[in-house]
C-alpha cells in the first residue's frame, strides 16, 4: 500500500504510465493535457526513459508506431484536434497490431473549438476515427484514482492483445486533484514480444511490421484475424459499474465525469423518493451490452446523459434493442450538465 497523495489527473496519468513500465513517450503540446508532457519531461530522464517533444501529432504517433514496432512500452497523449491528426497512424498501428497506449483529454469541438470539457470524441474513438475495419479498447475513467488504475490496465490490455488502448477523459479529470494511492505495481504484466523488430541477430527469420496487404485474400484473412481478436476482447474485457440499479425506476447511463454528477443526482432523487440507477460503462469499447440486457425492463426508461449531441446514445439504443424507451440529455461546447437539469429530466420521465 502506498501513501495517499493529492495529485492532478494529468500528472497521475504520467506517473501511472511510468510505474507500468512505459519508458517511451512522444507527444506534442496541447491544452488541457500539457501537464502530462511537463511531468514526463522531468520524470523520464529520472527512470532512464525517453521523452521526445515531436514537431507535430503526426510525427508523434509515427514515433510511437516505431517504438511499438521495436517492442517498447510506449505512450502518447493529446487532446481532440491532435488526436484527429493521429488518425492515420492509429489506423496503421491497428492493422499492424501494435500494442500502444493513447490518452485523449477531450476538449469541445468541432474544429479548434474550445478547451473546456466535452465527450464529443466518443464516435471518433469507439467507432474508429481512422479508415478501415479496426477497433481500439477505449477506457473511460471517472476519478483520479481510476486514472491510475486504468492507465496501468491499458498497458496490460495493449500488450496482451497487441491492440491500441485509448483512455478517454476530459479537462475536468485532467485538471482536478484528488487523493491517489499507487498500489498495484505487482499487477503489471510483462509480455514477451517475439514479433518485435529488434534485429534478427542472424538467429531467426526476419520480423516485419506492416499494414499493407496487396493480395485481397491475404488481406481478408488478416481482417478476419483482427475481427476474431476483437470478439475475444468483447468476451473478456468488458468493464462496467452498476450503481443502485436494482429496483430503480429510471436508469441513467453516463460515463466519465458525467457519471459523477449523476451520482449526486441519485442521492438527491432518493430524498425525494425517486429511485434512480446508474450504468457507467468503463469500457466504451467493448460496450457492456449484457448489463443492458439485464436491466432492459426497468419500469420507466433509460436516460443517457452526455457532454455531446448524443453519441453513446446510439450504443445504448442498440443494447436496449427496442425493449424500452431511451431518452437523452446532452450539453455541448464545454457546458457541463447540472444536477438540477438532470433531475428535472428524470422527473419528466417519471410523471
Amino acid at each position: 500500500m502506498g501513501e495517499k497523495l493529492l495529485m492532478k489527473g494529468n500528472e497521475v496519468i504520467a506517473e501511472a504510465a511510468i510505474r507500468a513500465g512505459c519508458r517511451f513517450y512522444f507527444g506534442y503540446p496541447i491544452t488541457p493535457q500539457t501537464e502530462v508532457m511537463h511531468y514526463m519531461a522531468k520524470r523520464m530522464p529520472e527512470v532512464g526513459g525517453t521523452f521526445v517533444q515531436a514537431e507535430s501529432e503526426i510525427a508523434a504517433i509515427n514515433m510511437v508506431y516505431g517504438a511499438a514496432s521495436a517492442g517498447g512500452r510506449v505512450m502518447t497523449t493529446s487532446s481532440s484536434p491532435g488526436i484527429s491528426l493521429m488518425q492515420e497512424g492509429i489506423s496503421y498501428a491497428a492493422c499492424a497490431e501494435l500494442p500502444l497506449v493513447m490518452v485523449n483529454i477531450v476538449r469541445c469541438g468541432p474544429g479548434l473549438g474550445g478547451i473546456l470539457p466535452a465527450q464529443c470524441d466518443y464516435f471518433q474513438s469507439v467507432k474508429g476515427g481512422g479508415h478501415g475495419d479496426y477497433k481500439m479498447v477505449v477506457l473511460a475513467p471517472c476519478s483520479v484514482q481510476e486514472l491510475y488504475e486504468l492507465t496501468v490496465e491499458a498497458f496490460n490490455i495493449s500488450d496482451r492483445y497487441r491492440i491500441i488502448t485509448m483512455i478517454l477523459g476530459d479537462g475536468i479529470l485532467g485538471q482536478m486533484m484528488e487523493a491517489v494511492e499507487f498500489r498495484d505495481v505487482e499487477n503489471i504484466q510483462n509480455v514477451e514480444k517475439p514479433w518485435a523488430v529488434t534485429g534478427t541477430g542472424m538467429k531467426r527469420e526476419h520480423n516485419v511490421i506492416t499494414s499493407i496487404y496487396i493480395d485481397p485474400e491475404v488481406l481478408e484473412a488478416h481482417n478476419r484475424k483482427l475481427q476474431e481478436k476483437y470478439r475475444l476482447i468483447e468476451e473478456n474485457e468488458v468493464r462496467v459499474e452498476e450503481y443502485n440499479c436494482e429496483n430503480a425506476d429510471v436508469i441513467v447511463v453516463a460515463f466519465g465525469t458525467v457519471a459523477r454528477i449523476v451520482k449526486n443526482v441519485i442521492k438527491t432523487a432518493e430524498k425525494e423518493g425517486i429511485k434512480v440507477g446508474l450504468i457507467r460503462p468503463v469500457t466504451l469499447w467493448p460496450f457492456p451490452v449484457k448489463t443492458f440486457e439485464k436491466y432492459a425492463t426497468v419500469p420507466k426508461a433509460f436516460l443517457t446523459v452526455e457532454m455531446n449531441a448524443g453519441q453513446m446514445l446510439e450504443d445504448v439504443k442498440l443494447a436496449v434493442n427496442g425493449k424500452n424507451k431511451v431518452d437523452f440529455l446532452g450539453r455541448m461546447g464545454g457546458m457541463v450538465p447540472t444536477q438540477k437539469e438532470i433531475l428535472d429530466k428524470i422527473k419528466e420521465l417519471i410523471w
Partner: protein, 180 residues
Amino acid sequence: MAQHEILIAGFGGQGILSAGRILAYAGMLENKNVSWLPSYGPEMRGGTANCNVIISDEPIGSPILNSATVLIVMNSPSLEKFESYVTEGGMIITDKSLVTRSPLRKDVDVYEIPATQLASEMGNPTYACIILLGKFIAITGAVSKGSFEEALRKVLPEKYHKLIPEEMKALEVGMEYEKA
C-alpha cells in the same frame, strides 16, 4: 455527515489555486474525501482564477460546484458572479480590501476581512488568501490547524519551508479576526 463545498475566486496571482490545494491536502491528511478543481478556461489569460474544493466525510460525486456552502471572494467581479451560488445558511467571506461592496444575501453568514491590507502589514500581500481561509477554518473546523501546517509542508517545495511559520501566522490572523 459534513460536506464543505468551497468556492474560492479572484484574480490570478493571488495564490487562490495553491491555497485551495493546501486546504484540500489538509482534508486528505484527516482521511476525508477531497477534490480540487481549478478554472482552466480561456479566461485565464484575462486574469481571473477560481477553484472548487470539496471536503467530505462521504465519497465525492461531482467535483464541479453548481452551489457552494462557502464562498471566499477576492475581487468584485467574482462576488457578482458567485454570490447566488451560496446555499442558504452558508457563508461568504470577502477580502474587504479588494471587494468594493458588501454581499447582499441575508440568508448566509457574511464575514468581511481586509485581508490584503492585513497581509501587506505582515509584509506579504499574497498571504491574504490564507488569512481568509483562517476565518473559514475557525468557524467550520473543516480541518485542524495542525493538518493545515502539515499540508503546507507537503505541498510547498523544500526551499519555501522557511516561510511556513509566516503562513501559519497569517492563518491565525484570519482565525482570530473579529469584526470591529
